[in-house]
């Protein structure tokens, strides 16, 4: 993860272009080159909870005007857009901000017609793939961070130059830009980024004889704590998940794998080549062994872990039946929401759990290495020939992306669930309000610089969503020994990268 030098960040547009020249090799269709540089004033080298608090609320932006400089506000056109919006189980604030955005967009650009579809997280990739095959894709799509590279590799996405949309490369996290670069070309822009955190129930810890205010420091501690919780209280300690083809599994297991010194490929290296398989190195084996210890030996994690996604850990946690788990930053808001809906005796239980929720940094490996998945979403533009109707209205697309990724909206739209992909979002009032109202936000945002993106390969979804969980399941069910499972996974990863298929 490269560190930006303070001076470089405050330089003029020309230096920013130089940095961009490194990451962008291709120029898209020539268009309006007016750039709105937001005057990057965030110093990533000082990143810490205190720094984050200190810069919040120090700048305001007039998004409609800023984007009006990129695309005139009276432009008439249309844009189609797919994304994962708020659903029934999401907190109210998410719904409110989503609505507020579309209102603001239609006020700023009253003559642009929007055709918007909100599709659930687990279905979006499937539907996008099918739509592409039938040439009925939307013009713009926001995909989770792991999703876009497959389509970039297949030639479905348009290369992007940030200036066209009023941004510069310095407005985004380097790791985020890495995740959206394929073959030295930028194929999208980050919209939001988050890293997971570790949450635990302080009361459960206290009852089990553990220090209620301290998170387990290392993964070995997690194994020990989990056992203690199970032995003393009879409930599950750590919320392990190992379901195949569920996005949550790699987000929770990879940090463990990386912390021990392992990896799928060499994604933890400063300059990854994504050519070397690391899944059966010593660190990886140790990580799988730890999971095996918890599941099969200590039996301190839910038995249903093999068919659980993270969603199925939440309810037990809020019911006080689970001690700790890796959680998305939005978990707190979710719990608050669930607690507010509870009635009768359930309400006391729920309120108690909410009061006892604690957030901490993810545990480190035995060497003190802390790793966390760099998560988030990116926004992409689809090539016209695959779009429904055969054409892409470039100006309308620019207007949408400019507003969606503006400091103001990239913060507000990700209020409960994530953090602004546009780093300038950390300067807004909205950010300050979030810091004041969302407990532990300072903790969850503090790990952003140490995030590692998944390998940026089109085969990554298969590796992360199928091969890695398979390996876990093989080891946890005792189908294979830990060594066999990791070797098996190594073989599969190698054959997938070579272009064949694994385990056909």
């Amino acid at each position: 993860m490269s560190n930006m030098d303070g001076r470089a960040l405050r330089s003029e547009a020309s230096s920013c272009r130089k940095i961009m020249g490194v990451s962008v090799a291709l120029v898209t269709v020539a268009s309006l080159m007016s750039t709105t540089v937001y005057g990057q004033t965030v110093d990533l080298s000082q990143w810490s909870p205190e720094y984050v608090k200190s810069i919040a609320g120090t700048k305001t932006f007039d998004t409609a005007a800023d984007c009006g400089a990129v695309v005139p506000n009276d432009y008439a056109g249309n844009v189609s857009y797919w994304y994962t919006g708020p659903f029934e189980a999401d907190p109210i604030i998410s719904h409110e901000q989503d609505k507020a955005f579309w209102d603001a967009f239609h006020t700023a650009y009253p003559n642009i017609k929007t055709d918007v579809q909100s599709i659930t997280y687990n279905e979006l990739l499937d539907k996008f793939r099918t739509a592409l095959l039938g040439n009925s894709a939307p013009m713009v799509i926001r995909l989770q961070i792991l999703g876009g590279v497959e389509f970039a590799a297949k030639g479905y996405l348009n290369p992007i130059t940030p200036e066209d949309y009023g941004f510069t490369a310095a407005d985004f996290w380097p790791g985020a830009l890495k995740s959206v670069t394929y073959d030295n070309t930028l194929y999208g822009l980050p919209t939001n980024n988050e890293t997971m955190a570790f949450i635990w129930n302080a009361k459960v810890f206290a009852d089990a004889g553990l220090d209620p205010e301290k998170a387990p420091a290392t993964w070995d501690d997690v194994v020990a704590y989990s056992k203690q919780i199970k032995d003393k209280l009879g409930i599950s300690g750590y919320g392990l998940v190992a379901k195949q083809n569920a996005g949550n599994t790699p987000f929770r297991f990879m940090p463990q794998l990386w912390a021990y010194g392992g990896g799928a490929l060499d994604e933890t290296a400063p300059n990854p080549t994504y050519a070397k398989v690391e899944i059966n190195n010593e660190g990886s084996r140790a990580a799988v062994q730890a999971a095996y210890q918890m599941y099969a030996v200590d039996k301190s994690v839910p038995i249903s872990a093999l068919t659980n996604t993270q969603a199925e850990n939440q309810a037990p946690f809020i019911a006080g039946q689970l001690g700790m788990m890796i959680a998305h930053p939005s978990e707190y808001a979710k719990m608050l929401d669930l607690a507010s809906k509870a009635t009768g005796s359930d309400k006391e239980v729920a309120d108690a759990v909410v009061a006892n929720m604690r957030y901490g940094l993810l545990p480190t490996g035995p060497d003190g290495k802390r790793a966390v998945v760099f998560g988030g979403s990116n926004i992409h533009v689809v090539k016209p020939e695959f779009v429904d109707g055969g054409a892409v209205d470039e100006q309308a697309v620019k207007a949408l992306i400019c507003m969606w990724d503006s400091p103001e909206w990239s913060t507000k739209l990700n209020w409960a669930g994530s953090n602004p992909g546009n780093i300038n979002g950390f300067l807004t009032d909205a950010m300050k309000e979030r810091l004041d109202t969302i407990k532990f936000l300072d903790v969850t945002t503090s790990m952003l610089p140490s995030g590692i993106p998944f390998p940026v390969l089109p085969e990554s979804p298969e590796i992360m969503n199928i091969i890695v969980p398979d390996m876990l399941q093989n080891a946890l069910t005792g189908n294979m020994t830990v060594d066999q499972a990791t070797d098996d996974a190594a073989q599969k990863i190698e054959s997938v990268i070579a272009g064949g298929g694994a385990g056909i």
Partner: protein, 292 residues
């Protein structure tokens, strides 16, 4: 030597033994059948966390109808969405049923009465649809629907669902027509009716149970279908119930009681429909499925 009356008594006892075994079997099967539905109802009456207790509460500590009211309340967003899905399902299922009858009845009659070249082959082709797994066809059918301009419309579903019910419908109705003596049509023809008129006015009314059975089968099939609805529809406004209910499992929360309530509501129409009309269905199977 046993007398006749003694033999009769012992026979009666043996029959009774079978009868009791039959009754016991029925009770067990009934329990097996009904238990999941009962648990579904009980879960739907619980609040979110109550469902997560282990050991589970056999009867909710604070039973509530809020899961149901939330789904059916038109003023709330959830209620609006749910009722919309309900309406979409109703619409698609009804149209599919009507078209299925319109298409299947003449075809069944033709296969029953007529002898034309290729008859057996075509009958085979129609029934063959049953053999093909729905899943395999998802992508090519999607491409086809795109070419026909039907993506994200209910038309794509109706067209596809037609093919699900047709094989059984045609087979069932053919059996019906096989069992209707041709003397009736002969009489009508002698009286001057054309072949078509004889069919419409004489024969078809006699196959009413078969038509009702076909309708029930088509309706239920279309109502419950999931995979194609999932693939062909992306617009939320078009979604049918099975797909809509999936949305209760969004990324970060599992609302089991809500899901159970939704599942229950989704099952009610078809179960009621079936209970009311089951006698026609049984009659149709009896007359249509069994050759005399």
């Amino acid at each position: 030597m046993t007398t006749i009356s003694e033999r009769a008594v012992s026979r009666r006892n043996r029959v009774d033994w079978w009868r009791w075994a039959g009754r016991l079997f029925l009770v067990l099967v009934l329990g097996f059948t009904v238990m999941p539905m009962i648990w579904m109802i009980i879960t739907s009456l619980k609040t979110g966390f109550a469902a997560m207790q282990y050991p589970p509460q056999w009867w909710p500590a604070s039973p509530t109808l809020e899961n149901y009211t939330r789904l059916l309340d038109p003023s709330g967003r959830i209620g609006q969405d749910f009722l919309h899905y309900f309406w979409n399902s109703l619409w698609v299922s009804t149209i599919t049923t009507v078209l299925a009858v319109v298409v299947a009845v003449p075809a069944a009659y033709a296969f029953s009465r007529f002898r034309f070249p290729g008859r057996n082959f075509l009958f085979f082709a129609v029934l063959l649809r049953n053999m093909f797994p729905a899943v395999v066809f998802l992508v090519p059918l999607f491409i086809l629907m795109k070419a026909l301009g039907l993506v994200n419309t209910h038309g794509s579903l109706i067209l596809t669902y037609l093919t699900f019910g047709l094989p059984l419908a045609i087979w069932l109705l053919k059996g019906f027509y096989d069992n209707i003596p041709i003397q009736l049509e002969q009489a009508a023809r002698i009286d001057g009716a054309t072949r078509f008129q004889a069919f419409i006015f004489v024969v078809m009314p006699l196959s009413t149970p078969g038509i009702i059975a076909t309708s029930i089968y088509s309706f239920i099939g279309a109502w419950n279908e999931y995979i194609y609805a999932y693939t062909f529809l992306t617009k939320q406004s078009q979604m049918t119930l099975p797909v809509g209910i999936q949305r209760f499992f969004s990324e970060n929360a599992t609302d089991w009681p809500g899901l159970m309530a939704a599942t229950f509501i989704m099952s009610v129409p078809v179960v009621v429909l079936f209970l009311v009309l089951q006698k026609y269905f049984v009659q149709a199977l009896t007359e249509g499925a069994v050759k005399h």
